[in-house]
Symmetry: C2
Subunit: 298 residues, 2 copies
């Protein structure tokens, strides 16, 4: 049993295909096939059932997959831990953030961080919650900024702050005249909702359901900026996080206007998240400190 064999094995289990596993591992398909065959021979167990369409893990395969994952993660974490130096020499840090947070929160924090730790090589991964969780589990992403709720109990979180969701209106909208808005005043509005995997979309959608709003328009954009433009062009209104509104609202018709909701104000909870059972590098721990040291500006 060798480490590269375990890596190939895990790749096959993940892709359910020898060929795809091979390209994932950057080796030729025959090489990978041979190593799997060798592994099976040495263990005295078939690991995969070769089916007409793809391959499937046997019982022994499932057993090995569990162990192999633990072992390979342990290897990786050990290497990370040993590479970690107090002076952050050659340190790398991969930060994840969901699209509805990234452009608003990341720049300031990254700036603070890089000023203090310029030697760290930073990469930013912007993706939806689910993919960021996968990335943290596989070790590609160290820390991610996202919003609750998170399902996976392998993920540890630190709450950073609660952020209100505001009603975003076209500048000429009738409701814009009021300072605050009651939920039943939105009864006949058409809502623009972020589509697909975006947690903000889910949240707005459930807000609509709770209040029995029926008129909606989906939006597959990954950007809040797009929604803001759609609002300006009069297609509908939406709930947007406070961080998305400009620092100094121009009020000249070039941006939507934002109003608070009275009653049970919808909020989202912003958290830093990381893998509970894997090694958190020094660079990552320092980033956590930066996040906590600089709470969300009002």
């Amino acid at each position: 049993m060798e480490l590269h064999q375990l890596r190939y094995f895990v790749a096959v289990a993940q892709t359910e295909s020898f060929s795809r596993a091979a390209e994932l591992c950057h080796v030729s398909q025959p090489s990978l096939s041979q190593q799997i065959a060798k592994l099976e021979k040495q263990l005295g167990r078939k690991l995969f059932d070769r089916l007409s369409r793809g391959v499937a893990l046997t019982d022994a395969g499932h057993t090995l997959l569990e162990s192999a994952t633990v072992i390979l993660n342990n290897i990786e974490d050990t290497e990370k831990r040993l590479r970690d130096t107090n002076d952050l020499q050659d340190a790398r840090l991969s930060i994840g953030a969901i699209p509805t947070i990234a452009p608003y929160l990341l720049p300031q924090h990254l700036q603070t961080y890089l000023k203090e730790f310029p030697e760290v090589e930073l990469t930013v991964q912007e993706d939806v919650t689910q993919n960021l969780i996968s990335a943290m589990i596989s070790g590609e992403v160290d820390i991610a900024l996202m919003a609750l709720p998170l399902e996976d109990d392998r993920i540890a979180t630190k709450e950073l702050f609660n952020e209100p969701l505001l009603v975003a209106l076209p500048p000429d909208h009738a409701l814009g005249k009021r300072r605050t808005i009651k939920t039943d005043q939105l009864q006949n509005e058409r809502f623009i909702v972020l589509g697909d995997m975006h947690c903000l979309g889910e949240q707005v959608l459930s807000f609509c359901r709770v209040n029995n709003y029926s008129s909606r328009i989906g939006c597959r954009s990954a950007q809040i900026a797009t929604i803001q433009k759609l609002i300006l062009s009069g297609l509908g209104i939406s709930l947007l996080p406070q961080m998305a509104l400009p620092a100094e609202p121009p009020e000249d018709g070039s941006t939507p206007i934002y109003r608070e909701l009275t009653g049970q104000q919808p909020v989202r909870t912003i958290v830093a998240a990381w893998h509970r059972h894997r090694y958190l590098s020094l660079a990552a721990r320092r980033f956590l400190e930066v996040l906590q040291g600089t709470p969300m500006p009002e």
Copy 2:
């Protein structure tokens, strides 16, 4: 970081010597040195300080040693688990027992076990408690029969039975006339005590201390049989476990005579022991069942 490199590394850490590690791993010293050098280079950390006399782990080395042990054990256990078949095909089982138990308890249990599972390849390792514990931790021994107390919390135990320690006397000894003996009647006797690492020796010694017996004779033998012969030749008396006395005492002067102690009768607790955090093979679990199914005959 490769598995063989971790194995070499652990060997060097254990032996504190490249040369001795090399022979332990059955490779030449230069090969092993090269692999360690490579490992150090890849991790970017010196793992050993090369001292005038031998080598010593650096901080990074200590960190790696912890991880490497866990990883290698995990690899080994995974292989064991996958090799384990319900029909016990090719199953091997290594049983340990301390010398003061082995000849009396093992034969009957091994017989029962082999009758039911003849396909298992058995090996028996007889050694003192401390060495058996090491052997279980390193994975050489699966299950050991020994007596409490055990210090190491990595070892799980199952109590099998309590066994009284009896006073063993030469056949012509005055105290032999009584059915039972009180502890203060032994005040002026000379005790023969198993030496060194034997837990029975320790136990008898502490019994002597508690009762303020002063006259002792050490015995470095590994066998109770030797002590019995010494008793017969009139050198002294001793406390011996009940299992050491013959099934049908001949009472013809060829064996010591045994008498119970009244009051707080000294006993030893016999346990089966195994490594709590490593994989216990099916063959080993079956042996445990045999041990528990056949409690010590009175």
